[in-house]
């Protein structure tokens, strides 16, 4: 599957990575060769093979419904770039 600069731009936007046209062109080559390597997967006959999401065939453990966490807001917000009145600040969100 050939990769176009527009594919790179699209992925960059979805992933929220700044990308100008020159960057995108630069990535096309690298990413194109990675995808070409990945395309070897198509040689494998996987008819009737169930996808494997986890290496072990275990199932989800369920947690008892208990409140175990205390308020650590100040501790956690010490590493935050911008807070006020306990809120994280971001540029104005327009709905």
């Amino acid at each position: 599957m050939a990769l176009e600069p527009s594919d790179v731009q699209r992925a960059a936007h979805l992933a929220r990575l700044a990308m100008n046209d020159a960057d995108a062109t630069g990535y096309v080559d690298d990413l194109g060769r990675i995808l070409a390597m990945v395309d070897q997967l198509q040689e494998v006959d996987t008819d009737g093979v169930a996808p494997l999401a986890h290496p072990l065939d275990t199932t989800q453990r369920l947690r008892a419904d208990e409140v175990t966490e205390r308020d650590q807001r100040d501790h956690f917000q010490r590493v935050a770039p911008a807070v006020e009145n306990g809120l994280y600040l971001v540029p104005r969100v327009v709905e």
Binding site: L17, L31, I34, L41, V49, P51, R61, V79, A80
Partner: protein
């Protein structure tokens, strides 16, 4: 003192030959003198280390010391450590003082070990040479022109250079085993789910696993027993008892069936690596093991499958770095999109962005089944290859890497860099344990033998490695690292 194993140091502490304080000061001094040339540490935590050492000595004075109390070690900078910068090798987290401890860190602290600091690594554990770190590359202590391997390159170099007797690493596609091989130390990747991932900054969640890197299999056994176990905070950690991993050390290898996957001895394998591995196999035969050729027919597809699954998981795992709650935030964002795009563009390095883009692309509409579903199907076939092989043999052996450590800057092309992990990556897809042990040299540069076992066969794997180390002295070789004059 700096070239002793953890086991030897534990005995020295127990016998009162030294104190944790003395040991810690000695090693901190070595780090201060020597690490300028290696760059194996991102943060050296002098104060915390000395405080922990004193606490350990106090505990010992009260007769309350455990087997690991007072032993110094280092942590890959991917383990969250409360109050200490945890950068994951990234500019994105250069300002991140972790507000909590990873489960592995809690367990090590509870065991009384003394962390000297946080080791350098490829950014977000993405790399095989440690050249992808925001903090600059790490040098291989055996040859300062060579890479130490990656992504746990700092941990491997620090142990090899005698800066710490052991360090914690993580392994997503070979990131413990390959640097262990390149630096001539012993590195164990446990079974997926054996060690809690809680507090380990995620790269690819279904592949990541933490493990010990040390100077002997015995040391790895000691550490694994401390960090392994079920964690209620990690759904993927396995509820299964933790055996005494040192208990099986010493069992005879007579009758052991060793499988040599024919795919691990093909094109691209450096002759000196092949020779060292074959010599090692002969040692095993002399110890009473038998050797059988086996096949892992889907080996060739492990790297393609990995480069779909790992980047897909990574692209999602790394979405939380958005400049809002922690981490790098760009200056004066004009709006929300600008905040996201510039913060992430500035915070992430090239390889990380490359993998985010690959993962985003392969998960996107119209591509998902062809890439992701297909890769997961191939993943099942790869796991089945191992399950089938372990019907025939007890362990598999082969090279940890197709070449010894390569020169810094030698591998500019991402795809050829990815191919370095040909022998390690399938192990993570299958979730089985693997260990790399020193097995020779190519010139100055060490060569690693990789031993693989079935799920949860760590005890056997460690004994198989230990028996080799009883019969050889490759693991006792130390690089000649001239003391720097101040």
């Amino acid at each position: 003192m700096h070239d002793k194993t953890l086991t030897q140091l534990a005995r020295a502490l127990a016998d009162g030959e030294t104190s944790s304080r003395e040991l810690t000061e000695t090693l901190l001094g070595r780090i201060d003198r020597l690490d300028g040339r290696l760059n194996s540490f991102i943060s050296v935590t002098h104060e915390q280390a000395l405080a922990a050492a004193d606490a350990a000595d106090a505990l010992r004075a009260k007769g309350q010391a455990g087997p690991l109390t007072g032993l110094p070690l280092a942590l890959k900078d991917i383990f969250c450590t409360n109050g200490v910068k945890t950068s994951c090798g990234s500019k994105m987290l250069d300002n991140f003082i972790a507000p909590y401890d990873a489960t592995v860190v809690e367990k090590l602290n509870a065991a009384g070990t003394v962390s000297l600091g946080k080791t350098n690594m490829d950014e977000f554990a993405m790399g095989s040479s440690n050249e992808n770190s925001h903090y600059g590359p790490v040098k291989n202590p055996w040859d300062l022109n060579a890479v130490p391997g990656g992504s746990s390159g700092g941990s491997a170099a620090a142990v090899a250079a005698g800066l710490v007797p052991a360090a914690m690493g993580t392994d997503t596609g070979g990131s413990i085993r390959q640097p262990a091989a390149f630096c001539g130390i012993t590195g164990l990747k446990p079974t997926y789910g054996r060690v809690s991932r809680y507090g380990i900054i995620a790269y690819a969640s279904s592949l990541d696993q933490a493990g010990p890197m040390a100077r002997s299999a015995e040391d790895c056994a000691l550490l694994l027993g401390t960090i392994a176990g079920h964690d209620l905070r990690d759904s993927t950690s396995v509820a299964r008892g933790v055996p005494d991993y040192t208990a099986e050390l010493g069992e005879s290898l007579s009758g052991l069936k060793i499988g040599l996957p024919k795919e691990y001895f093909g094109d691209g394998l450096a002759p000196e690596v092949e020779q060292a591995v074959r010599e090692a196999i002969k040692v095993y035969e002399s110890l009473g093991a038998s050797v059988h050729e086996v096949s892992l027919p889907h080996t060739h597809y492990a790297i393609p499958a990995y480069y779909v699954i790992a980047p897909a998981e990574a692209s999602s795992n790394l979405s939380r770095y958005d400049g809002v709650r922690f981490g790098h935030r760009c200056d004066a964002p004009s709006d929300l999109i600008d905040l996201y795009k510039r913060s992430r563009d500035e915070g992430f390095g090239e390889e990380v962005k490359r993998r985010i883009l690959i993962g985003t692309h392969t998960l996107s509409e119209g591509f998902f089944d062809a890439y992701y579903t297909k890769a997961q199907q191939v993943r099942r076939l790869i796991r089945q290859d191992f399950i089938d092989a372990f019907e025939e043999v007890d362990v598999l052996m082969g090279p940890a890497s197709p070449t010894p450590a390569f020169d810094l800057g030698a591998n500019k092309d991402p795809v050829s860099m990815y191919l370095q992990d040909i022998y390690t990556i399938a192990v993570n897809l299958a979730g089985i344990p693997g260990i790399s042990v020193p097995a020779g040299f190519a010139g100055q540069r060490p060569i690693g033998l990789q031993i693989l076992g079935p799920h949860f066969a760590e005890s056997q794997l460690l004994n198989v490695a230990h028996q080799f180390q009883q019969a050889t002295d490759w693991h006792q070789r130390r690089p000649a690292l001239a003391e720097e004059s101040a």
